[in-house]
């Protein structure tokens, strides 16, 4: 196992000892990234719960746009396989979804199930696009454009201007799908988009579908919900899970000087944030470099070095990925477990010291 402390190569035990010491000293530790398999995500939450850390994810910008809208207005959604199998009209919101692999599957096939089976699939776009049969440049921004469509769908606007045509086409669809990337559309836009799907489903069927996302955020959300009853971002410093997307934003906590240690978890590679070097930090990463953090421990990549449960984008579900190239790299879950054990032993020792 490769490990470094302050840039110097060292053994696993020394590195875990150093990581434990770094976290034990911290008053407001943060565990961030969480781009990992379910076993490691669980282990990270267990550690956070036991040391009172807060938790944030690698893709929380988009994830929170989604979660914020969800908790305020709800959602009307479908899945990738249902979109491919049933959608006769697809509205692509913005530029990002055109890059998603789902788009290819949608373009390559016609609907095969349900009442739209056998019909052609039409593509509409918000944002300039050459592939779509109707594309509205939406120069005022996506949230506003979605709002205009919604106004047409609810008969608050009328006429055959381009957005009116798009709204009419969606209303005439048998199974419409609104594709978007949460990080691109943002919280206000997502709320508006859910409202559009709900308005259209008064008379036909229309559903939203999010694509994109960073790291394993889509695995973290359910695991966090079942372990703590709450979505990320959350903190455990007061021994109750507190869900607060502003307070527990890791970047903000570091910038404000609130966080005094960070554990960065990226067993599934994601870009490392630049604020990591601003605080004493531990990195558990699959693509390890000596300078990544004060303490760096190289871990296996789930689905490659060892088996693991990961978000399967195509299936929109958690699925098990066996090791494709098994190695003896330790899993992030194992390292986190060792770290928790070390910290728990330290806590027990400090409790048994006489009060002075």
């Amino acid at each position: 196992m490769a490990a470094w402390v302050k840039g110097g190569a060292t053994g696993a035990d020394t590195a875990i000892e150093a990581a434990a010491a770094l976290l034990a000293k911290a008053r407001a530790p943060v565990i961030a990234g969480l781009s990992a398999d379910v076993a490691a995500i669980r282990a990270a939450y267990d550690l956070a719960g036991r040391i009172g850390a807060s938790v944030d994810t690698a893709g929380s910008f988009g994830t929170y746009a989604e979660l914020g809208a969800l908790s305020r207005v709800g959602a009307l959604t479908t899945t990738p396989a249902e979109a491919v199998g049933r959608a006769d009209v697809v509205l692509v919101v913005g530029a990002a979804p055109w890059q998603a692999s789902l788009l290819e599957r949608l373009i390559d096939a016609k609907p095969t199930r349900g009442r739209a089976a056998g019909s052609e699939r039409a593509f509409l776009a918000l944002g300039a696009n050459a592939t779509a049969s109707l594309a509205w440049p939406a120069e005022g921004g996506l949230p506003e454009a979605v709002g205009v469509l919604r106004a047409y769908a609810r008969d608050h606007l009328a006429g055959d201007a381009l957005p009116g045509q798009i709204a009419a086409r969606l209303a005439a669809a048998q199974y419409g799908v609104l594709l978007y990337d949460p990080a691109e559309l943002g919280e206000a836009g997502i709320e508006m988009l859910q409202g559009l799907a709900m308005a259209l489903s008064e008379t036909t069927r229309c559903f939203t579908l999010a694509v994109g996302g960073v790291g394993q955020d889509r695995a973290v959300v359910p695991v966090s919900a079942w372990l703590t009853g709450q979505a990320p971002r959350s903190g455990f410093g007061r021994r109750v899970p507190e869900h607060d997307p502003w307070r527990f934003d890791a970047a903000r906590q570091v910038a404000a000087g609130e966080a005094d240690a960070v554990l960065w978890l990226a067993a599934v590679p994601v870009a490392r944030p630049d604020w990591l070097s601003a605080v004493p930090s531990v990195a558990l990463v699959a693509e390890a470099e000596a300078q990544a953090a004060e303490v760096v421990i190289s871990v296996g990549q789930p689905g490659r070095d060892h088996g693991g449960v990961l978000w399967n984008e195509q299936r929109a579900a958690l699925t098990f990925w066996p090791a494709s190239a098994p190695s003896n790299m330790p899993s992030a879950a194992t390292v986190l477990g060792a770290l928790t054990e070390r910290l728990a032993a330290g806590q027990a020792a400090s409790r048994s010291e006489p009060a002075c």
């Binding site: 908790s71 359910p222 372990l227």
Partner: protein, 548 residues
Amino acid sequence: MLSVIRGGRVVDPTASRNSVGDVWIEDGHVVDPQSRAPDAVIDAAGCVVMAGGVEVHSHIAGGNVITSRLLLPDLYVSEAAPEGHPFAHAGGAAAWIGSTYARMGYTTAVEPAMPPTHALGTQLELADIPLLDRGALTVMGNDDQLLQLLRERQGGNAVRDLVALSVAQSRGLGVKCINAGGASAFKDGALRLSLDDEIPCYGLSTRQIMGSLLDAVEEIGVPHPLHVHCNNLGLPGADDSFMATLDAAEGRRIHFAHAQFYAYGAVDPANPGTGGFRSAAERIAQAITDNPNATLDIGQVVFGQTVTVSLDILRQFAGRKGAKPKKWVLNAGDAEGGGVVPFLYRPRGPTSSLQWAIGLEIMLLSTDPERTILTTDHPNGGPFTQYPRIIHLLMDKSERDREIATLPGVVGERSSLPGLEREYTLSEIAQLTRSGPAKLLGLADRGHLRAGARADVAVYRDDTDRTAMFTAAKLVLKDGVPIVEDGEVVEWRAGRTLSLAVESDRAMATRADAYLTERFGAGLDSFAVPDAAFGEGTETFEAVPCRV
């Protein structure tokens, strides 16, 4: 180690025990009384000793449950973590579910709605519920793969093989169908579906789909009968759907989920949508008496804020306008998907009061409490944490009268509850919450205290305040190990997930793999629930044999 629970009132209706006596335990099981000196004596004087409670229908894991937490982050209250577990007092979390059930003396709980497409996520979540043994029912009845088989009339063997494969792949304990065909119909624009309505694009009816699943379950030998969520839940006249479904079962074993929500007779049968409903509890209770192969669980309503979660997306879509607070989530997913609609059972509201009365009525009119099992369909009728209060109301007529006195007159006008004198005995409570559900699930080693039973035992201080008595057990043993003492968890151990040992047909596996690859771009492997997903050295699952 040999131990004895001494001097408690032992209540085990399966052995006609209801008197002060001892329960002997060795190696995790109940044993016959021994002449040897025990290694440990547990004093149960002044206490009631029962088998651990068994839950047959409580939504404790899966996509809808997760969505409900995201939609309503403030539904539950969290308290500071206890020693030994960071999240056991985190309201609504898996550990909170496990510890809250355990404190009430429950030791087994079944999640009734596991979609095969999301089996692994559901099973991982269940495995994180500590203290209890768990299980999940595999949901079928809306998926295109099954509906295609039926449309093409491929015969009972093909259906049986697909059901067996789905249960084996998802590692379910039984099979459930939820408004069979309803989710599919919803996606094709339908707003309502009854037993013989045609499901668009398939030319099938609920009767045909459910009938094929009833047969498959029998042929495979699933111990738990098909667990059925009928059409038209919650609508005036739903009692007709219930009766029609019972008739359609044609004497085959069938379990009706949350029957209270169907015990709504239309006040004006000519205009069921407008005239409101009256209790059909007598009709439902009589039907269960008359059909020994039928069972039901209640789905008792509890006053207050809750959230409804269901794979019946047709029903959840129809219910969206009653959402309180006004937000809801509906996922038109692979097969069923799911719907999450927050709901307030308004304290002292006329509708909620009548619903509350009907659930109690069905139990009080029951001639066989083992076949009319207590549930709240958590969280749909209300949280499972209200079981102690419901037991109190069943056991104490004066307590019921006090509550009824605060409710609107509709309770007396449209239900027979105020006139029911019956008070449940402790033996009947044990039937309702122990022996009945264990028999229903086909778990012969639970729900009783005869020799050979698993040593899952709840010891309660006998107290006329039954709410207090059943909220916090004095002692709970799981497999002979004390997990709760004086209402607090003392040992954070993991239970097992019960899953049916069922062989799947190789030819069907090959066919399913091809079908799934075409539809999902990923084959049968991506639907698997392998041991390796639960961590090395952990034994998460325990096999339950099929009936012979």
